[in-house]
Symmetry: C2
Subunit: 435 residues, 2 copies
């Protein structure tokens, strides 16, 4: 008995779409063995059907569409694979497929971070899966881990290095002692960073992914616009060097924790201790730490982007659909998602790294120390490097745990001292319990 | 509409069984929300029903059985959870449940390493799931990752630190410069090691788990008795210290790779480079590296044992059954499993660390170097530490890649030199590409 093929309509033939076509061509038999029937691409959607994508005749007799909404309606398409990106055409395509009762696989974090709850409701009403493993941390099966593998836990916290481009830049800055600007320019030349890098380096992409992880981990609906986000443009080679000297690495980390104040969710540069779980996730790799009440700490590391890893995740979602697995988008019925009360960053209590550029003259440190004392910020260590009487020298301070509001108040006052020459730099230190 | 509960029969109320009871008591509502119906323990099986297990009244009105086979027949049991361990009673219990058409969840690696293929066939014939996430790497959802999350890949290699006890011992030996014997004794006193530690420290437990990972990764049936296994009794504090000096850590690693010679599968102490993925998996933690053709390198780290993490994995398997997910034991139909041709360790080609205890007198190194030259073993570095003319001093050699057979031949000859005082120590160096 030959079972009927599972027929895919693939919208978007860029890097990920091309990777998926190649993966299927490479592993057609292996996958058929696994799911008991072949998988075929019966329709594709891309702007220019004549462009050479290096896919040879891997697309065979697939029907070409210019409009993914039209493709969704093709009766020869069982599953819509949305790899277009963005929130307009992609949204229309996903909605069209769901409204036809067809399951959808997407790699689109922006779409789900903004419209996940509504789409979850649609998929649920249609009784079909809307899978998005590839939308978070590329090839790492962390959506599956949170939705299934760790389902017996109350998740306490999720920490992630979720953007490969910014992690590559920070890693390269550290390796070469180079500035953000010069490393970014080189990453752009090498194709590791986009011409407009803001989604990556300003933390927006990481925040999209973190929002999805938070919904999965805590069963909450998150208003994306309420998530505090700060990127890596302000991280200097000097801060990276001082961090190293103090036993830390600087990473762009997404943090999501349930606290008494609400959902503590934020993306910003973080100093993590040398030996901690995320410290050695370098280059384009992503890493996710999940803290669960029964499992304790779990760490996942892998490639967060690229054709192969992303296609791997997309295919896993397709295989799940072929096997009949059908879970709500965020693991629980949409109606039970609780709107998250996002805690303000000012509610944070934690250690901080401060770097000040001060005039090297007697009494400056005393002035700074007095302000910190007044604002009840306790100093753990202080470094003053180089001597250049009358000129600018860096002063680095690591604080004990401090309320963010007090820290901000102190920094405002310190920044106003005449002997402090530049706005102070502050990087939060987060303790991620070591595996 | 209240759906009928999913009713569990739990065989074995030791550490893991107790953990499962506690997990269910803690997360009853959370789990019911996830799967749409409650989970209940309706039957339990343990030798002494009157023993105080600290479970309060969490077991409610569950029926007590002395015989798990009888429990499997209880019509009030939908799913058998086998947490007895061993291969006799446990096997009978699993078979009884499968023969009644009931799905089974087990944490029993020994059972599956020896009888996995036969049990897979039984489960398949019965059309039910036989899930075993907890049998490999405790709380880490690596079975799910290989069976589902990475299903779009040809897996090229799996490397794992799979036994928490031996990893704890090696980590503690490194931290304190202590001997295997003294650390083992302390671990036994602390309850981290069994009174008879051989399953753990001789690599058998790790080999059970590795065998299961190999079947999942490569779709092969492995004859457990053909897997080369060497434990950590021969690792000395001196070797750990030299390893550190050379930029390595010594870990008990399970390796499984498909090669031209067949399945390269083995468990033994390995020197891994400082910066590589498994080097910092310390203490009781487990770590698994999976290399796939599309996803590239994936690393998973977490607690490999203990009540909480293991119960987390058992519950994930139960949830999968509740959600209707039903996969073959090793991800592919049993009949398609290919009997693995296990490559002999002598087929290995790789670098080695050698430590010799030699008499400190002129010409000794020349004799050793001549033998290595004759056997075509190329030296990468050589350390001779301490001077004590006429007495024993250690000589440490790191080789370039060398055929195992040549290495063994050279070591036999070297061991026979009159100036070499003890049988040479050899530890294989494995390069696990860094994430």
């Amino acid at each position: 008995m030959t079972k009927q093929a599972l027929r895919l309509g693939v919208a978007g033939l860029g890097t990920v779409g091309g990777g998926l076509v190649r993966l299927l061509a490479t592993h057609r038999d292996r996958l058929a063995l696994r799911i008991g029937r072949p998988i075929e691409i019966t329709a594709v959607c891309a702007r220019d059907p004549n462009k050479d994508r290096g896919l040879g005749n891997a697309l065979g007799s697939a029907t070409w569409y210019a409009d993914p909404v039209a493709m969704a309606a093709d009766p020869a398409v069982d599953v819509m694979v949305e790899l277009i990106g963005g929130e307009t055409v992609a949204k229309a395509a996903v909605e069209a497929a769901l409204s036809k009762g067809k399951p959808v696989v997407t790699a689109n974090k922006a779409l789900l971070a903004h419209h996940g709850v509504a789409l979850s409701r649609m998929a649920e009403a249609a009784g079909v899966a809307l899978n998005f493993e590839a939308a978070v941390a590329g090839g790492i099966p962390v959506v599956k881990a949170l939705r299934e593998g760790l389902s017996g836990n109350r998740i306490e916290a999720v920490y992630g290095i979720l953007n490969g481009t910014s992690n590559y830049i920070l890693t390269d800055m550290a390796a070469r002692g180079a500035s953000f600007e010069s490393v970014l320019a080189e990453a752009q030349a090498l194709g590791y960073a986009e011409a407009d890098p803001s989604f990556d380096v300003d933390g927006i992409d990481a925040a999209h992914k973190l929002t999805l992880l938070a919904s999965l981990a805590f069963g909450v609906a998150v208003d994306f616009d309420s998530v505090p986000v700060e990127g890596i443009r302000g991280v200097s080679a000097q801060d990276i060097a001082f961090a190293r000297e103090l036993g830390f690495r600087i990473k762009l980390v997404g943090i999501a924790r349930m606290t008494g104040e609400g959902l503590d969710i934020r993306v910003h540069p973080v100093m993590v201790a040398e030996g901690s779980a995320l410290a050695h996730v370098d280059g384009v790799f992503n890493g996710v730490v999940v803290q669960g009440d029964f499992v304790d700490q779990m760490v996942f590391e892998g490639r967060g982007a690229g054709a192969g890893p992303t296609a791997s995740a997309v295919m896993a979602d397709i295989v799940d659909i072929a096997l009949g697995l059908k879970l709500p988008l965020f693991g629980v019925p949409t109606e039970t998602l609780v709107p998250a009360k996002v805690a303000p960053v000012t509610a944070r209590v934690g250690a901080c790294y401060l770097r000040l550029s001060v005039v090297d003259r007697p009494g400056v440190i005393a002035d700074i120390a007095a302000i910190l004392r007044d604002e009840r910020v306790s100093i753990e260590s202080l470094l003053q490097r180089g001597r250049a009487p009358g000129e600018a020298v860096p002063v680095v301070i690591v604080t004990h745990e401090v309320a963010e509001a007090a820290m901000v108040a102190a920094l405002t006052r310190i920044g106003n001292l005449p002997s402090v020459l530049e706005p102070p730099t502050m990087i939060r230190i987060e303790e991620i319990k070591r595996a």
